[in-house]
């Protein structure tokens, strides 16, 4: 399944770039994520809960970042395994400066297998869009929170 879209963050490209690679921020923003820790340079381990259709399950996996090109963009690879199947996402994030901040453009492909493919594939598209939307809206809240606390300092 292909995913693509864009989201406007009220932060300059450098700041947006940092947020998108900050494990604590990501753990807070990723829906269902209860653990994200750096295991090496550009390597993280992650655990998140996913609900698709009638099934839900924990996915344990790793996130790796490649092709770092600060602040223009990077490649993100997510791999997860769980009782209900497996997923692999491979995407390119491009950060484009805009008058109000930074437009984050994403384009990638998500592949799933196991029970989530057999049961949830029909709803995967909407689920993925929903997860991405929630992620960015939470990230936007982080930006606002950070900038307001910054303004207060």
């Amino acid at each position: 399944m292909k995913v693509a879209g864009e989201y406007l963050l009220a932060a300059a490209p450098d700041r947006a770039y940092d947020l998108l690679q900050d494990p604590e921020v990501l753990a807070r923003c990723m829906p269902g994520c209860d653990h994200l820790a750096r295991t090496g340079p550009d390597e993280y381990e992650m655990r998140m809960k996913m609900v698709i259709s009638s099934i839900q399950g924990l996915f344990a996996g790793k996130v790796s970042i490649a092709d770092q090109d600060r602040p223009a963009g990077f490649r993100l690879v997510v791999e997860g395994n769980g009782k209900v199947g497996f997923m692999r996402g491979d995407g390119l994030l491009t950060l484009v400066p805009q008058p109000g901040g930074t437009e984050v453009r994403y384009e990638g492909e998500v592949r799933v297998g196991g029970m989530i493919a057999g049961v949830g594939q029909r709803l995967l598209d909407t689920t993925a869009k929903m997860i991405i939307k929630r992620f960015f809206s939470k990230l936007a809240a982080q930006v606002d929170g950070a900038s307001s606390s910054g303004a207060g300092a």
Partner: protein, 779 residues
């Protein structure tokens, strides 16, 4: 004129619309299915299955599952190295047969491939413990589409065969090249017969019970072939055949999907022998979709050659069969049936067919209701409509012009078959009369003129069934029966066919009751237990009545001869007739009843010359030929231009299955068959994504027809007895499915023909038709 005795012709039970003897237990919930079997100490198995279509197993750690409370054992591929391969019974020249272990060794080949089995004291514990097994897979590229699998550079399903070809097969008859060179018209079309999931109401299930002291294993399995299963599973487990008993309890639908020996039967036998406790495995619906065979899976390239006047000259077919990752019992043989039946009911003297049997990273395909014949009928019946459109001829007229004549039987086809008997125009004419065809065409024109998308579709099918003469079948094509008359006169029929919904407990009782002149209530029919019933072949390919029936008939003839001998002895006369359940001396009029004869035969105070005590006869009947039923189905459909929904306005089926033993059961078979044909035509498709993930993984995503989606089916018959067997019967289990799909598709193509639509591939979903209508007929 007066006579000393009045002779009344007894009304026969054969031919009567009798309710099934099977039904009371089925409708009162007292039938016993595999999952109803309970035994002391029973354990439960759950199977870990691959989530990948292709992957190497890097590591496998079962210890956490073993440590789980309630888990008795876990077995993996390494443990079952001594168990023989899952059998393929079909043979073709040069066939590549992949090693097919009951559990994956170091590699998995399709989603659902069994990797390990967990055995626990509780079904839920077993299922939970599956999640504790740690498997590290290294995913490999997979290919799920047979045409893509043939492309150079495609991922190799089995690395030893990079071209993914399991076999090629060529058959031709007559002079196809010349026929095509001399033709006025040649019509070509690519036709897909999509992968289907058989979806029996009862999933598969196995109970295995090993008695170590007796070294004997009993396997209860929801199968169509208990005896063949015994032979094959005994071989897999290295058991002597008489140490294995296979019992087939009630079977909740098979449709070919249980005409197989799967990994799980031998695996449960292995587990029971290892743990020394009975073990039960019941397939979940999701497993059933992933791991039980699928049906169809063709991409067919057809060419038809004809003269301007509509006379057909030749037919060519390139058939790409999606085999899946392995051969199950009959996998590679199924498309050869399509080739045998490709000429349909027509005088094609020149035919040529090539099969490419292709491995894909999917569950294997195999026999599914019709097995190769629905695909063939769909092909030739679509081609006849395409030819009719090309020549601007009426599709009914084109068919009538090309039918094999009623005076040409037995008819030798260009594919090497001998059609036993037929009158192909008769059911078509009857169906045309039933729908009032000419008036219907006028009404269609009026409807179309007012913007309604109404279509009329005709399909005339022929099928090969009553499998079959032994030289032409993989495992022997005969069937067996034993008839016992107990000392009290009660009659027990034991059939080697293993009916599972076809109703032979009723039809065979009708035959026996008629032959012996006893009430049908006195007859019981026993089947499905290898320790009780003599060796048999099974029920598939519309053979139960057509091959099993004659075996019963001939066993009864043997028995009647013996009854007569005892009658002569007891009546002290050589002029005795057996009729209506009594032996009568034709000189004195004295009688002796069957019960008296039975009692005397077992008491054996006196015996007729050269006669053993008792009244038991066994007959193994070898059919001299297949039987070839036929028929015509007409569908009137209307497509809603706003939604793309197809509504079947009328469904008329005129089937000729030879002589009918029980019209009620024949109607039931036609109805069920048509519904499964509608499933293929309108709703069903097993979809694998590009990575080999089965997307239609459960009944939420795989649309089998429900009662509200089924039209009223008007069923009628013509009767052309088969000369192949003494009952004149042919077989009707698959007819409805075979006749249905082309009639539906032809009707919808007819409804959309004015938009330039000449062909549509199944299923005809609202989405597909709506898009087509929106695009003005351009796909």
């Amino acid at each position: 004129m007066s006579m000393a005795t009045t002779v009344t012709k007894a009304e026969t039970l054969v031919g009567r619309r009798l309710r099934r003897k099977e039904d009371p237990r089925l409708i009162t919930g007292t039938a016993t299915y595999v999952d109803d079997i309970q035994m002391p100490g029973m354990h439960y198995a759950a199977i870990l299955r691959s989530p990948h279509a292709a992957a190497r197993i890097r590591s496998l750690n079962v210890q956490p599952a073993l440590d789980h409370p309630g888990v008795a054992a876990v077995f993996t591929g390494a443990d079952v190295a001594g168990v023989g391969p899952v059998p393929c019974g079909a043979s073709l020249p040069g066939l590549r047969v992949p090693a097919h272990s009951v559990l994956a060794r170091d590699r998995v080949y399709f989603v659902g491939h069994p990797v390990a089995v967990v055995v626990a004291t509780d079904r839920y514990v077993a299922a939970d413990a599956l999640d504790l097994i740690e498997v590290e897979y290294q995913p490999l590229p997979a290919v799920a589409n047979p045409e893509k699998a043939l492309e150079p550079g495609a991922p190799a399903v089995h690395p030893e065969w990079p071209d993914n070809l399991a076999f090629t097969y060529h058959q031709e008859g007559g002079e196809p090249d010349r026929a095509f060179a001399e033709a006025d018209v040649v019509v070509r079309q690519r036709i897909i017969s999509q992968r289907l999931i058989p979806t029996a109401m009862e999933t598969r299930g196995v109970v295995a019970d090993y008695r170590g002291a007796e070294k004997s294993l009993t396997i209860y399995s929801s199968t169509q072939i208990p005896h063949l299963m015994r032979s094959l599973v005994a071989q897999m487990l290295g058991l002597a055949e008489n140490r294995l008993r296979v019992i087939t309890p009630e079977v909740g639908g098979g449709f070919g999907s249980k005409l197989n020996v799967y990994a799980e039967e031998a695996l449960m036998g292995f587990v029971a022998m290892k743990i020394g406790k009975p073990v039960k495995w019941i397939e979940s619906r999701r497993e059933n979709f992933q791991c039980t065979i699928h049906g169809r899976g063709h991409v067919d390239y057809y060419e038809i050659a004809a003269r301007k006047d509509g006379a057909v000259l030749g037919l060519r077919l390139k058939l790409i069969q999606d085999l899946g990752a392995y051969h199950q019992l009959l996998t590679p043989a199924i498309p050869t049936l399509s080739v045998l039946m490709m000429p349909g009911l027509y005088k094609f003297r020149n035919v040529s067919a090539d099969i490419l049997g292709v491995f894909t990273n999917c569950v294997p395909t195999d026999a599914y209701r019709g097995a190769g014949r629905p695909e063939a009928t769909h092909g030739v019946e679509r081609m006849m409509d395409l030819l009719a459109a090309e020549l601007r001829m009426d599709p009914a007229e084109l068919r009538l012009l090309n039918f094999i004549g009623a005076d040409e039987f037995p008819y030798a086809t260009a594919t090497g078959l001998s059609y036993d008997s037929g009158n192909y125009a008769e059911p078509l004419k009857k169906a045309l009369d039933l729908v009032d065809y000419h008036r219907l065409r006028e009404q269609q024109q009026q409807a179309k003129a007012s913007g309604r998308l109404v279509g009329i579709g005709i399909s005339t099918y022929g099928e090969i069934c009553a499998f079959g003469p032994s030289p032409a079948t993989p495992a022997g094509g005969w069937e067996s029966a034993t008839v016992k008359i107990e000392p009290s006169g009660a009659v027990t029929v034991m059939t080697g066919a293993s009916p599972h919904g076809q109703g032979e407990e009723t039809t065979f009782a009708q035959i026996a009751a008629d032959e012996l002149g006893v009430p049908i209530e006195d007859v019981i029919v026993v089947h499905g237990d290898t320790a009780i019933v003599q060796y048999g072949i099974g029920t598939f390919g519309s053979r139960g009545t057509a091959v099993g029936g004659p075996a019963v008939y001939y066993a009864l003839q043997d028995l009647k001869a013996k009854i007569l001998k005892f009658g002569e002895l007891l009546l002290e006369s050589s002029d005795v007739t057996f009729s209506g359940g009594v032996c009568t001396c034709n000189r004195t009029g004295k009688t002796v009843t069957l019960a008296q004869i039975a009692a005397a035969s077992y008491r054996a105070m006196k015996l007729p010359p050269n006669t053993e005590p008792g009244l038991v006869a066994t007959h193994f009947w070898e059919p001299p030929n297949f039987a070839f039923p036929f028929g015509a189905h007409i569908v009137v459909s209307e497509v809603d231009p706003e939604t793309g929904q197809v509504e079947i306005k009328r469904y008329v089926a005129v089937d000729d299955c030879g002589k009918i033993i029980n019209p009620l059961l024949v109607d039931g078979q036609v109805h069920g068959g048509v519904v499964q044909g509608l499933g293929q035509a309108l709703f069903e498709q097993a979809v694998y994504d590009q990575d080999g993930q089965l997307v239609t993984g459960e009944l939420m995503d795989y649309a089998v027809p429900k009662a509200t989606m089924v039209p009223w089916i008007e069923s009628d018959h013509t009767t052309t007895p088969s000369p192949v067997n003494p009952l004149g019967v042919k077989g009707v289990g698959e007819a409805g499915t075979i006749g249905c799909s082309p009639a539906v598709v032809n009707s919808v193509v007819d409804a959309l023909g004015h938009l330039g639509v000449r062909h549509l591939d199944m299923p005809l979903t609202p989405e597909k038709l709506w898009k087509l209508i929106q695009a003005g007929g351009q796909a």
